[in-house]
């Protein structure tokens, strides 16, 4: 991640733009208010879009750092709550097994 060679932004610039547009839409304001009781914060998407474009035009190291940090913060935000259950290391053993015979007979 430190060097620019072969690195690309976490998302294509069009995606940052689409997310920013969605965030700023009236519909999203309504949805967000309905869920959280406050207005949405869209500034970070705008910053990321600007950084992405800067990276595309000038390969700016600052833009790269900013994008990485932003994405890391988003991932961290999803992991801040302790889960109620323990995650599995492998799927349930019986997921693919055939149904019990009496179910099949119906």
């Amino acid at each position: 991640m430190a060097d620019g060679g072969g690195w690309r932004p976490p998302r294509p610039c069009e995606v940052y733009r689409a997310e920013w547009k969605l965030c700023r839409s009236a519909r999203h304001f309504l949805h967000h208010y309905y869920v959280h009781g406050e207005r949405p914060a869209c500034e970070q998407w705008r910053r990321d879009l600007a950084s992405c474009r800067e990276w595309e035009e000038r390969r700016s190291a600052e833009a790269q750092r900013s994008l990485c940090e932003s994405e890391r913060a988003r991932v961290q935000a999803t992991r801040k709550h302790t889960l109620v259950w323990a995650l599995r290391q492998s799927p349930p053993a019986d997921w693919h097994l055939p149904l019990p015979q009496e179910e099949k007979d119906q």
Binding site: Y34, T78, W85
Partner: protein
């Protein structure tokens, strides 16, 4: 309005021993079972919420097979569907699901339970907190509590009403499958709410409509690119 009272069961305590195909009262070509199958097929092929969930489950090692993991049956009461953890099967109540939009929502709701079963050790039968968590997530992420649906139920509220709806519907769903008091169910929901309301896997966000679901699916398909940063 009857439809709006339907609650999705997490696990059906008893499925009807012999389902018989329902006959529509109106003149129709299809039995309830056939209608259910057709609507299910359309959901699986076109609905962005469901397509993301199917992808996520495949990625977790639980590829979904329509014939093995779904069953259209007649159900008691006004239940819309349920996830049967003991047989790894989603039951769709063919006598209670009347239209495509409802089918979309029920399948999404039950697939969220199936997804939780696949990725975590969920003690469905022995820990009401685990059950509560999956019900909170399903109510939150399936569209059950969208503003439109709540208005149809004549539940009016705007500011943060979504959270009220999620709590209420999670409690209803728990009471539909567990012989416990409303207070116990409420306590379980309260205890897990903070964590489970904010667990948006596999969507990464609350999908308020199909646009959000499509964006979420795009993000899921590109997750390797995000996480490598």
């Amino acid at each position: 309005q009857l439809q709006q009272q339907h609650v999705a069961c997490q696990v059906l305590p008893e499925r009807l021993a012999e389902g018989k195909p329902g006959q529509g009262f109106l003149s129709s070509f299809f039995t309830n079972n056939q209608k259910c199958q057709l609507m299910l097929l359309k959901t699986l092929e076109t609905n962005p919420y469901v397509k993301l969930l199917l992808d996520a489950m495949k990625h977790s090692g639980c590829a979904v097979n329509r014939e093995r993991h779904f069953s259209c049956e007649d159900c008691n009461g006004n239940v819309s569907g349920g996830f049967d953890a003991s047989t790894s099967q989603i039951v769709l109540c063919q006598n209670n699901i009347r239209n495509q939009a409802h089918m979309n929502r029920v399948v999404t709701h039950e697939l969220i339970h199936a997804f939780d079963h696949c990725r975590a050790h969920v003690n469905w039968f022995t820990d009401v907190r685990h059950l509560a968590c999956s019900e909170v997530r399903a109510a939150n992420l399936s569209g059950d509590c969208s503003l439109i649906n709540e208005i149809f139920r004549l539940h009016f509220g705007l500011k943060q009403h979504h959270q009220t709806c999620v709590r209420d519907r999670a409690i209803l769903s728990i009471l539909a499958v567990r012989n416990i008091s409303k207070e116990v169910a409420q306590k379980a929901v309260d205890e897990v709410f903070e964590s489970c309301f904010n667990d948006h896997e596999p969507f990464g966000r609350i999908p308020h409509n199909k646009t959000y679901a499509r964006y979420a699916h795009r993000d899921f398909q590109n997750r390797d690119r995000y996480y490598s940063n």
